[in-house]
């Protein structure tokens, strides 16, 4: 696996600050678990109001934390002042989202000047046993701060 050098020494604080401003993560009960250069984990406990018609987490929930994990993995490598935007992603839902807690891991596969390719994986943990339930492939864009967006 690639080892990444962050372009911004304050990458961790920056990811935490941005995550804290994602109201949607708060609504879902998601929390930032781990931030290293090019890799971010987001946790989410099961909650009945996040489910679809069969009682599993809605695909939109697991996709939300995978998307944020990928975006922040990319942001952790960006230069100061740049903002991150998701261009597109694809997910495969490999098993029902049944479990007590869910962990999304986003990882940078290739960091380019404008575009970053990330992979995301969500694991459902039940009785301490993680099961791989979702895999994501995402394209994330670096938006320079002249755009008026803060990261």
């Amino acid at each position: 696996m690639a080892t990444f050098q962050p372009a911004d020494p304050a990458f961790e604080a920056r990811v935490k600050d941005s995550f804290a401003r994602q109201s949607m993560m708060k609504l879902l009960g998601a929390f930032l678990e781990r931030v290293v250069p090019g890799e971010v984990d987001i946790g989410l406990p099961f909650r009945a109001d996040l489910t679809q018609q069969h009682g599993y987490l809605h695909a939109g929930v697991t996709t939300s934390i995978a998307d944020s994990a990928c975006g922040y993995a990319a942001l952790s490598l960006m230069p100061p002042g740049a903002a991150v935007l998701t261009v597109e992603f694809k997910v495969n839902l490999m098993a029902p989202a049944a479990g007590e807690v869910f962990v999304a891991r986003g990882r940078v596969l290739k960091a380019g000047r404008t575009l970053t390719t990330c992979s995301g994986d969500v694991f459902a943990v039940a009785a301490g046993d993680p099961k791989h339930i979702l895999t994501m492939l995402a394209t994330v864009m670096t938006v320079q701060n002249r755009s008026g967006l803060s990261d």
Copy 2:
């Protein structure tokens, strides 16, 4: 565009019943707008607690309603007793999710015995003017009722 014959005359009630059991749609404030054979619209008003760090709707929110719209478009054509599962999807986020209300339209492109291909589109409406902000391509599976899942 294809015209579809529903295999279940009670397709509309069935979609409504299933949608009502998706707790996640209630949490997001989403509502079922329109159900015709092979096509379903879901509406969602803007809310500040659904946003990402720049104040736009989180991609997970627009993806959630697009996924449900695609799944229910597929379910509207399935035989009685079958349940619907999303296999995978891809979204392109073509513009920031800024607006007063959002409408996701799911449409069946090809309905097969086991797999159905759907397209989804999300429009952001501001001052009555719809803007196309997201497009989805999804694969949905028909699960026979011997599986124990209800639709």
Copy 3:
């Protein structure tokens, strides 16, 4: 559907010149059928040496013409001197690629300064009857000519 104004009045000649330099299109026997701003059609007759193990066209063949059609639909709207690169795409293979001739249509959904979102569709024609067999969603990048790439 959107109507597009080409940024380069010579867009048609430019697409034709670039297509003629795609050796892969020649190897496959593909030809440029139609170029309008934001929309390009590529045709391909069936050939036995393009098949997979069941005698249908290999998915890589139909994907190749869909990718080129999407890329050239995007290029048709780009300013003079810019080059086009495919960032990513997804295809759904909705039916086996059986037929006498195949037509890939690429269309621009959203043209941005850096990124363009395109949809692609491949139709298999047998006895004059077109069947929709593949749908693509693609992200294409505009590379400015300072990069040293010609379009």
Copy 4:
């Protein structure tokens, strides 16, 4: 990484036989490098007639070998008599396809009764140094032999 038990002891011969019937692989000059349960490598030397307008391999070429590698990784785990069909895939093209030889590796992430999720990666090798240029996420279907398709 998962370890897989093949359901068919003759999995290797079966993959080789099927690969030999993919005319498209022969046209591209691709060869089967390695077949283990759940993982298949396909090699391809650079050839000028496989290129796009900038002289790199056409995305359709690298996608073709990644698709075949994913399909055969899935087939290597299928029961005797089953055939394999690609349902859909997505690729991210992370760098230009420049190199002397290309290797596509397909791997099964999750093997289900009907659907198998695979990841694919293509590496471009120049002067002995591999570069990761493409990543694929694919859904493959097991078609029972009552369908009349041979694998």
